[in-house]
Assembly symmetry: D4
């Protein structure tokens, strides 16, 4: 209810076109209406696409396959696009049963159902350091594509062979925002950001061994980047990076 709506309502009451009782009910209702649906174990947020430009996304981790499928069904029923992240085969089996048109992206471990969304303005480049970073890079890619963005995948360009990323300067420069995915020492975002004047969303991955500590080394490397324009999301959080990049690409 906008201020204009409120004014119109009050005018109606003043002019006798609306009884005080009815106005009372409507005003209280506005305060009380729940923009979500309560499934007992979850509150599905159907207003999110109004409030945040994209409907609720299901994080598969820590939910049963049945819970995922139930939430997915409600989202699709409302005509929203569907995105389930961290979805294993068991979740996919349950979701497919209730949303037959959905797709499963095995590398990205994601389930999607595409719907029309407003297109992003430019391209989102996604650079990854090594082959082992692909699942996270693809989670970002699938997320951003579903949200209406054009993606340019530039994979396996880690700094151990610096010529690989230097050779892709042109493609990187053409992007409106760049997602850089790297494990181990996580140096790629610094190098990319040092080459360009484009916002870089850095995603540390848990790829590595020994003192990589499940991605902490890469995370710290990215947070301490000496280059301008690098902000960081959680370890392995391809979804989050795709989401932010899409927001920026829709500005």
């Amino acid at each position: 209810m906008t201020p204009a709506d409120l004014r119109a309502l009050l005018d109606d009451v003043s002019l006798g076109r609306l009884a005080p009782d009815a106005a009372h009910t409507r005003l209280l209702g506005t305060l009380r209406e729940q923009p979500f649906e309560d499934l007992g174990f979850a509150r599905v947020d159907h207003h999110r696409s109004i409030r945040q430009g994209f409907p609720e996304v299901i994080l598969g981790l820590g939910k049963t396959a049945e819970q995922i499928a139930a939430i997915a069904a409600r989202i699709v029923d409302r005509g929203h696009p569907l995105l389930v992240t961290r979805a294993d085969e068991a979740a996919w089996a349950q979701v497919r049963a209730v949303v037959p048109d959905a797709e499963y992206h095995a590398t990205a471990r994601a389930i999607t159902l595409r719907r029309n969304v407003s297109p992003g303005k430019g391209t989102i480049a996604i650079a990854s350091a090594g082959t082992s970073d692909l699942p996270v890079a693809e989670e970002a890619a699938v997320t951003a594509e579903l949200m209406g963005n054009r993606i340019d995948r530039i994979y396996d360009v880690g700094v151990a062979g610096i010529h690989r990323v230097l050779g892709e300067r042109e493609r990187l420069t053409s992007a409106r925002v760049i997602i850089v995915v790297a494990g181990m020492e996580g140096a790629l975002p610094s190098v990319v950001a040092g080459m360009l004047d484009i916002p870089v969303i850095a995603v540390p991955t848990s790829v590595g061994y020994g003192a990589s500590f499940g991605g902490i080394a890469a995370l710290l490397g990215m947070l301490n980047s000496c280059a301008n324009g690098v902000s960081v999301v959680n370890i392995d959080n391809g979804y989050g990076a795709g989401c932010i990049a899409s927001m920026i690409n829709h500005l």
Copy 2:
């Protein structure tokens, strides 16, 4: 040297307008030319404004006041705007001597000299959780202003009194990108991002005591944000946040 320049040079050689020796020298020179000035202890990067939209910024931490002033003088000599972060009074005294028009921002601990830069497209909102977060918030504000952006400061709206931030929804919604600065548990970015569909740059601060561990609690809280659209920079890194926000606001 652009591809077109290269073509022109080769045409000149072909037509005898340029001797091969001279061409050789110029081509080698192009590969070798250093877009920076070597002061012995530092290489001042004068091409950065071409490459990255804003000239080199001086991080005061770990440099002597003399080193800071020497680098500052070179930057200003080239007509660039000046930004020194983490500058204490001693550095300010040295810089003022060589750059008389510079300003000192005590809360932000920053030295600036304004020059014309391309203006950002919208407003950058900067929200901070508490009074103790002001130095970091102001570092972000001073940085972004110098880079040509309009700033809306929304300070002391931490989640312990949730009505304070809820009451500023309108100002927040008017921004093109939001910087959220918070210490202690670092929950403010999650709340702000959950209210809106605008990219949020979260800056954890070292404000807090006990198990805040110099900002680690806030940093972890922000990295683990359950809301969409939150990316994070280093603890107390107001400069970095201002810089990224400016990049996004210039897209």
Copy 3:
């Protein structure tokens, strides 16, 4: 033996109603009596309900199913209510065989046998941030119910959609003490405590990924809460929270 008992005993000795030998035995016995039963691998504490208002509870973790069942049988034999936490199906199979009336709560991973206990004075509200936090929230709920408290479950009200928890202010305000269960950044307790003047017991969960570090991020967030009235228990310790909340609700 109370001071009054002691006085009576000494009077009896003085008056010849009790032989010194007998008095000696009784006094030594008082010092030596063991308020527990030694099973070899465990000392079952049968006096705990006198000393602490509720009998010994069995933490299933790290005990064999046989050990759990043996201890459970002794507790039930004395007429006490039974609570086994962190009980898997194997433990349930063994306990059911010796305590046929017991119940198994699958989500909470708990075994209970209800007995009459003194009722709590008001309601304990249990708020949880996400669907994945349910096992911990339910462990708290089952614990507090068994201890005689009325529970109000308010689930899936995390701060990513702040309107969800704001919409439940009334139910929260009606509680005498509130348990707030959250993983990831653990911001929900701060928001709840900032809305009300009621003690909040915060339970961090190990839900999250990447830099949540198995609940450390949530734990630190809660310990550093900028809101008044928040105290914290161990990660995933629903039992502990239910127990404290019950103590407060019985004051």
Copy 4:
């Protein structure tokens, strides 16, 4: 504005006793009214005593003496009791100038001005392990006293001489809630909670050396307490413990 107020207002509009314009203004105002006063660097929360039973408290850490005094003056002007924690001598000098009736508690590092508040129902016992824990224990004591509670101080009863705390069982049993303050290995809350059926608020202190890591050892010890009824606040957070204990003691 209660639902009844709303109804009355709408009736007035309907009956022509109130112009729609005026009603509009009042309704919008209700949504917009700020229950705080904006000093630029801080938003003083004057409604907190209504919302949370006690007015805003000033955490001195990270604020300048001038900022502290300015906020203190506003709080006292409204007739609220005053509490400044982590206040050094400089802050005290500034506050004394504007609030002449205030008191300084040197051990607790706190400034107070007492006003009438509703009294707590029973006694809050505060047990501390060693002499070095006194500043934190006193911060808790001063806080809880200002909030209307009766305090029983039981100091220097650490577990290295277990007879000291065992000898105080009676005083501990007489309390309605117990604050236990300890550094080093932080074992005292476990021992106290194991003796009684009363909620224990554990406060780890940064007292210790070597592998105490500024209170982490005590914090972890308390979080992992094997005894029932222990919840924990941040390291050295005497204020927080006093505040929670007061809430419980006012139930």
Copy 5:
């Protein structure tokens, strides 16, 4: 070769009873003799019982069952007692095949073959906090028994019910050295050491959950013990504690 041996040898050379060549060989041999047997993957140290009072012990962790059995056979062949720690059923199957008289201690996860060793002077008391600490306590017990010590097991006397350990003061006082095994907050060693004047070897266990971090909480608690006489070994290192206690008991 003792100094006396050396003198005798030189006398023999001087008197012509020993040729210089032969003396040369013997002296060089003394420097070169290897007090161990090289199996390729391991060097079995047969002189250890001379040098350290007890022969080499096999840490099963990280060795294959075949490697364990091969080393065990060599040790037994020399007439030494056998101790294999962290031995699973597979290792036991292999060892039993080559050392038929060996015993397997399932709770302690240890294989032993007893031989005559010099008896300790007094009793070693082993106190444990909870049922889940038994495997570590038993590893200590089996180790110390094999090394010739008398053991008094005092199990499940954790501080959550302080009367349990207080009730065992007499047995504890009778010991010459005490091993205290505890997980979670690891407070038991402090309490025991505070009651007595006997060296306490504290063994943290990985028992616990959440913020116990696999025994770190207990380890830190024990290292920071405010009581005199507590030294600490590695997490779950029952063997090490048994070994040190035996050394002290043989002094």
Copy 6:
């Protein structure tokens, strides 16, 4: 009060030699008698020398010079030996004023007053790795000397020149217990324990830089020692090591 005392008392009551009132008082008194003196800020434990063989020791850290002097005076008044650890010059000035016969050990940062105590049975060797470890080694030495032990100081024998410690095998072998003090990688205790069959108390020091993390590297090295017979005390805890070594040397 021994069981025999109790019997005698009851006989007296029975025979009319003692009034029940008087017996009541004495029995209650026994339960209540405080073996310590309450100074308000500290409870001086005068029975410790009975219970633990040595009177209370004052840890200077975190106490004011006045508090230290007050406690010291009470201890000396009772005829006990005095030990203050971590005592700076200010504390020494205060203590000297009230205990004129006390001595100050500058390297060890300790204040002592010697009194007759029972002598230890053998020698305690104290080996240190480097010159920077001297303050901790001397704290151990001063402590153990005051407790009646003979000390053999073997300093600057770190493993970087392994011949230094190998050359002291004889002195080490002559000891009854060995304290090994080392910072940096903390390898010396492993080497010493591998050479001998004598209990080693390892003391990590905070000496080192970079990734020594204030002694954590040395602490972890010692806890993970692959040699038998090594137990560990807190970082820089020379006092604790001296105390344990004395206990063992008095067995």
Copy 7:
């Protein structure tokens, strides 16, 4: 393209022997040529042997068996030697199918195909502390052998029996560079480096338990080595150590 090549090309253009268009194409091509082959999921770096003396090595961890086999086939096709590290049996099965001459080293978990490479100048000694360190030591050995080096394996010489490593001084002294592999407290590199004047590459292993924290204790021990000449690689990184040692041995 060397400077001489560039000069020749320009001469050709000048003399009309090469059209400007053709020269343009060649010069641009030089800048753009990719010294790698793009498989979609990986960019195989065929120029690495020119740039870095040894072709690309495949880190098996985090790659599927199919990906490993595909990359291996491309490397072998070019006539390069093959090294796959962290290869499990599944990877070996796939690689064997496409590279029949390859060998599998089970202990080292490595796949190799030998080709002629330039021989190293001296011997690389590889010392390991215990039997459990063999997989890492063998990874180093297999790596260095494939790169043309002579290896001397000196295994199971940990510091718990210091005579073992002292007895191998001669073999150690004969090496040109020494790799030292150790878990637990990681003291062996300090001892070895203190005996000799030869570069030591230290490899911490994840062998250990409790507070070894998966190799952190050994890593910190090695980083803090008090001996000269020790540099460190990642936990369990036998490959990296073998590679560096080979570089040094080829100088």
Copy 8:
């Protein structure tokens, strides 16, 4: 005493040219001779230059100025070159008094006295990322120069402007070993090692702020380097890196 010396001595005894007593004394003496001088607080190792190619170096940290000067005097007396690291002005004042020819290097915080040493074979390149890394880079440079090496300093070439380090490929390629010094994210060693086939010694510095954690971020980044040929020394350990590089350059 070599084997030949031993043989000669025995021949002399056999031939009566040497009395057994005298031979006994000499042989025992050989075993007992101490290759160091004991100053009480330090054992100056005069044989180190024989054993390790360079005499003992004095780490100034944790030693008093007097101790440093005393050790320095003994080293210089023997004709050895002098190196004191981490020497402040106070140490320099003391050393200058006893070693008048010494030099002080303020940036490197080192004192040296040059003497003839064997020259290294090639050049050691030292690359540093930023101006703040100079003290550590200079400590490495001064160390390596004193040990007879030619140094090429390549400073301020961090990856934020990748063209800076790429432009120095030629100088880097000319080195025999490269020291790379970097703070913040520590990415420079990976980039340098990826460009070349030369051993890289990486030195993390404590330069940075926030989540750099005093150099941990850089340390982890370097340990996890995805490039071949990188080994790492302790944070800020310029001395160690210079020393290793010198060893390699003397091979």
